[in-house]
Symmetry: C2
Subunit: 379 residues, 2 copies
Amino acid sequence: MQEALPRFGFRKIAQSDLARLGEIATPHGLVRTPAFMPVGTLATVKALYPEQVKAAGADIVLANTYHLMLRPGAERVARLGGLHAFMRWDGPILTDSGGFQVMSLSRIREVTEEGVRFASHIDGSRHLLTPERAVEIQCLLDADIQMQLDECIELPAERSDAERATELSLRWAERARSAFARQAQPGQALFAIVQGATDPELRRRSAEALVGMDFPGYAVGGLAVGEGQEMMLKTLDRVVPILPAEKPRYLMGVGTPEDLIESVARGVDMFDCVLPTRNGRHGLAFTWSGRVNLRNAKHAEDPSPLDPESDCPAARDYSRAYLHHLMRSGEYLGAMLLSWANTAFYQQLMAQMRAAIAEDRFAAWAAETKRRLAGAPSD
Amino acid sequence: MQEALPRFGFRKIAQSDLARLGEIATPHGLVRTPAFMPVGTLATVKALYPEQVKAAGADIVLANTYHLMLRPGAERVARLGGLHAFMRWDGPILTDSGGFQVMSLSRIREVTEEGVRFASHIDGSRHLLTPERAVEIQCLLDADIQMQLDECIELPAERSDAERATELSLRWAERARSAFARQAQPGQALFAIVQGATDPELRRRSAEALVGMDFPGYAVGGLAVGEGQEMMLKTLDRVVPILPAEKPRYLMGVGTPEDLIESVARGVDMFDCVLPTRNGRHGLAFTWSGRVNLRNAKHAEDPSPLDPESDCPAARDYSRAYLHHLMRSGEYLGAMLLSWANTAFYQQLMAQMRAAIAEDRFAAWAAETKRRLAGAPSD
């Protein structure tokens, strides 16, 4: 008798206006949504132990195909038993396709129908990333949720460039789907990425075409690249209604706490962003009374904790004066504590969202929370 | 009725040849000796949480007067409740006097009878460190064990320079003792530092003069600055017998595991060194089968843990392949894990020494351990 194979699935548990509470089943466990995925670019969420990421409340982490294909290499990770064992994260992992990093990190690149040729930002070595190879890499990594290769273009973009890239990404989606069907493990899922820059018509066309291909989940890509929150939300307003209600929706690379709240209010289920850890390394903390710049001299003799409302030890147990000293001195522990506190803050934010949706009071919670987060002057 | 004041004291529990097992009582608790003190230069043991330092088995940490007087400033630490609260370390703290760092870090310095004038290595600001000010700073920090200001000279040194510096350090010891008597808290202790470069006669004179002043503990300074292990041990062979058996003996800035074993065999009780954390940040690990350079390509696909004999999670739970990847990628987690593993290794080494002395088998343990640590080729 054969064991039942794990299946990928999204289940909506509750809704409050457009905000959805749900869960995603993956081969490595459940993801409670709305979910924020800490970014583990190089198979580590920077300056955090995996146990801290888990304890902060994260169900799933993101890792970068572009970075891992260059170092340590996807085949090597596979020989070592896959990404979960390699980075000691036994929960679900989502990998991006590498498309975004090729655009943002590699100065030498050439996009053709076949894929994208680029030079490594590390050693200049040449690589070819195709929709098929992107899937192959993600399968070697053993990612639970994989992303199709797409072409990300910089904003603002000419309409003709945006159209060409959008159409190319659609053809790549079809090729990725075929490749994925041939080699993925049971229960793994490949998400499509809606592109189209800031053009409403292109966005609609991209979303409709991808929905027609029946992917298990849909991402909105090409945003959070400088277009501003208003344009981002406008795009969501157009795209999300086209996406099927029974599939998870993932807004890539977003964002600030306020971005997350507004996007969940529009029906988005998943997010990833480097902001909590990158800001942490730079001394910028997210707290329940607003943003705090620990490098600011006003904290030099402040014995109070970073955030008495947080149950994260980093936010609760160390004085602002000490955090200020650590950041000013360039000490590891400063980056470690603030990355931890910010990661915990983001997970607390998602937990509050989920509770508010469950109790059908998301709008009220959102209004109150936005007020609180804006409360303290940004110092 | 007044509560009994905490008293400083050293108690010898057992001896195995010249190696001593003991404990030191301080206002913040007991220190089991032989003790290795992790170095928390700027009020943090680099890349470790204080809980990890404690869990690794360290009873006491060292902090640097020179660094802390410049940043964040001793008066500031005092206003924040002292160093223990500031760095969240409720165990004993030893502070050095700043003498060594003035020599090694400040390029502009002038030694006079009064003290040493120097320019900060951070911003060039001018400071004067006298024997009295060094004690005042250490009292502001609330250090349990304090060190007299001494003049450290570079080796090799002219006999006349070494003699002048040794005599000056003796006069500073007397001044430090007077200053300490006026302002220290009950139970705190000031240690004297035996100087004299590599000159046997100067070392003897320094040790005898300081013993005559009756300090509660004695350090051997001015070693581990490039003179080599043989010369260091020769100096110990001359100095330690002069020091009183009922007082703790502290070898400053030492050293490798082999240095510690040889020095304990000669009757030394306390050590501090940046080696475990600094080496960790550079990818060099201490293990029970020898040193391991995790940056070496041979570890790239090695799924085995760093050290299966260690009970430290960093040495036990992560693969060498992953540690290699983290070090090659410059990730925080690499420095965090290897600093942690090395700190734990040093504490395990001290625990084994203490057990071997208690069972009067130190010489046999030392021979066996030196053999094991040399076993693996240094890769």
